[in-house]
């Protein structure tokens, strides 16, 4: 975890909607694992006030490659303000030979760094894209991925086999759809895998993060043991059997 300035060294468009930026970051920020990310300010003002989350998708010679939508404009040599890496690396087990990654309505970019490690260890990686995630461009993914697409969780027809096959499963969905999506997935996994081992199923929790260091208490995730832990420090992936999903459902208290 460090706070420093980075330079955007290269900008490459990988599809109509996606660009990848090569960032020259501080040395302490070059050590980043899959699942960790940066909180970034690009403006010289306090508008917007909070930082943006930038997702690393690769590493090259000390530079970190992040993925951003093309609707944002960046310039080579632009200096940005970078906080991170935020959170813990995804707990990918050495023994995992079959890795199942699921993106519900979200970019699967957060998985790419971890998936590279898994592929390097000769694991098989299956990526399931659901809803809008289907439109993520194939050319931005490693060719070794097996990719499955579905419009809804319910129309993901291979889910019985794919869930049965996996050694580890990671799912991402954006708030406020994360909890409903994980509830359905957890139910399926419990049904299909009867005796669920710990470390089998992880969900990604991505509330807005004002501080990124566990100080502001704005990103707490409620666990079954009564603890409330900051996603920015203990996450962003949580073993879904440990999370009290129902207590993490948003309420609707008004004014």
């Amino acid at each position: 975890m460090a706070h420093g300035q980075a330079i955007i060294e290269r900008i490459r468009r990988v599809s109509a909607g996606i660009q990848r930026l090569e960032l020259a970051v501080e040395p302490a920020q070059q050590i980043i694992g899959g699942g960790q990310f940066f909180l970034v300010r690009t403006t010289g003002t306090y508008d917007p006030y909070l930082r943006e989350a930038w997702l690393p998708v690769g590493l090259r010679d000390g530079a970190v490659i992040v993925e951003r939508p093309t609707r944002y404009e960046y310039a080579p040599n632009q200096v940005i303000d970078v906080l991170g890496p935020i959170g813990k690396p995804f707990p990918l087990r050495d023994s995992t030979r079959a890795l199942l990654l699921i993106a519900y309505e979200a970019t699967p970019a957060i998985f790419l760094l971890m998936a590279q490690s898994a592929l390097a260890r000769r694991a098989a990686v299956t990526l399931v894209l659901i809803g809008q995630a289907c439109r993520y461009p194939l050319e931005a993914l490693p060719s070794a991925f097996e990719v499955t697409r579905a419009e809804y969780h319910e129309t993901w027809h291979e889910r019985q086999q794919q869930i049965a096959w996996a050694d580890q499963i990671f799912a991402v969905a954006p708030p406020p759809y994360d909890v409903p999506a994980y509830l359905r997935l957890l139910e399926d996994v419990q049904r299909i895998r009867h005796a669920m081992s710990a470390d089998l199923l992880y969900g990604i929790f991505q509330p807005p993060m004002p501080c990124g260091v566990g100080a502001c208490q704005a990103c707490l995730v409620r666990l079954h043991n009564g603890e409330e832990v900051p996603a920015c420090v203990d996450g962003i992936a949580f073993d879904l059997t440990r999370v009290n999903l129902l207590q993490n459902l948003p309420d609707s208290t008004g004014v």
Partner: protein
């Protein structure tokens, strides 16, 4: 149609939308830029019984968010202002609400005078932020006794919760929540700390909360005011319980937003004209649009651009 009644008289607004005191001037200052008939009513800049000079040094301090402005509320006094503007007020396409400031006695004298005039549809009292609830009740009641006109009370932000009931008890027919608060900032020209009223988008969440607290508690309609810059902001005030809203500094920074908000309020659908260029389509605000809601945490949902044709 939004209506504020006071005995036999009534303030009738075609749209629940008013131009706030201090922002729109005394009459038609904005008529070259804005179709003022889109508003339900126009509230004049503050008017006092006796003339007031401009503050010895006028102060405009740009802030990191918004601006501090101190004018001293200059005006020629109610009689001179009436002589100067009566003709324009009479021919105004929308009702004119006169914003009055001063002591209880001054306000009473102004109200007595206005009760004899026909150009003014309603009075809005600027409630000084140093008054206690009891004093607010007295000020409003004193004015109430002198006029048949519908009476609005514009409450100071900090004291709004403390004095709202008193203003209603005193006889206000509606409460405006709230007037912009005062602050202190360093004037870049003089290098001094100076005081003045504060304007900006940040006012909205403060005012919406007060409206939400007061609407269920007071028996008169609440008119929301503070930081409105977008039709969505009006929606927030209405959902919190306001029956109408006032626009203030948005008219300086985005005069076109007044029409955008008015049209949104009448349910007019705003679509891009066939063949219009992207930058000509600005129903409400491509150039100063609100940011995409949020985003500090990863991963963003993948929202691909429309397919290339």
């Amino acid at each position: 149609m939004f209506e504020i009644t006071a005995g036999k008289s009534a303030l009738r607004l075609n749209r629940p939308l008013m131009g706030a005191s201090g922002a729109f001037g005394f009459a038609g200052e904005y008529s070259k830029l804005i179709d003022l008939s889109l508003l339900g009513a126009l509230v004049t800049n503050p008017i006092s019984l006796k003339p007031r000079r401009a503050a010895n040094s006028t102060r405009v301090v740009p802030l990191d968010s918004g601006v501090l402005i101190h004018t001293g509320l200059p005006n020629g006094g109610i009689h001179k202002m009436h002589r100067q503007y009566a003709a324009r007020w009479r021919t105004s396409p929308i009702p004119i609400v006169m914003h009055l400031i001063g002591s209880a006695e001054d306000l009473a004298e102004c109200a007595t005078f206005l009760d004899q005039q026909s150009e003014i549809a309603s009075i809005e009292l600027g409630i000084n932020d140093t008054l206690t609830a009891r004093e607010v009740r007295t000020v409003v009641a004193t004015v109430r006794a002198r006029t048949q006109l519908p009476l609005l009370a514009k409450l100071p932000l900090y004291q709004a919760v403390n004095v709202a009931a008193a203003a209603a008890d005193g006889g206000a027919d509606a409460l405006v929540v709230a007037a912009p608060p005062r602050g202190t900032a360093r004037d870049p020209l003089s290098g001094q700390l100076v005081g003045g009223r504060l304007y900006g988008t940040w006012l909205k969440p403060l005012a919406v909360r007060l409206v939400g607290q007061l609407a269920p508690r007071v028996g008169v309609p609440i008119i929301g005011c503070g930081g409105i810059h977008h039709p969505d902001d009006v929606r927030d005030f209405f959902e919190a319980g306001a029956k109408a809203v006032q626009l203030d500094s948005v008219v300086w920074v985005r005069p076109d937003m007044v029409a955008a908000i008015a049209n949104a309020l009448s349910g007019a659908e705003l679509t891009r004209a066939a063949g219009a260029l992207a930058d000509e389509w600005r129903p409400y605000g491509e150039t100063a649009e609100r940011r995409t809601p949020l985003i500090v945490a990863p991963p963003p949902p993948f929202v691909p651009p429309p397919p290339e044709i």
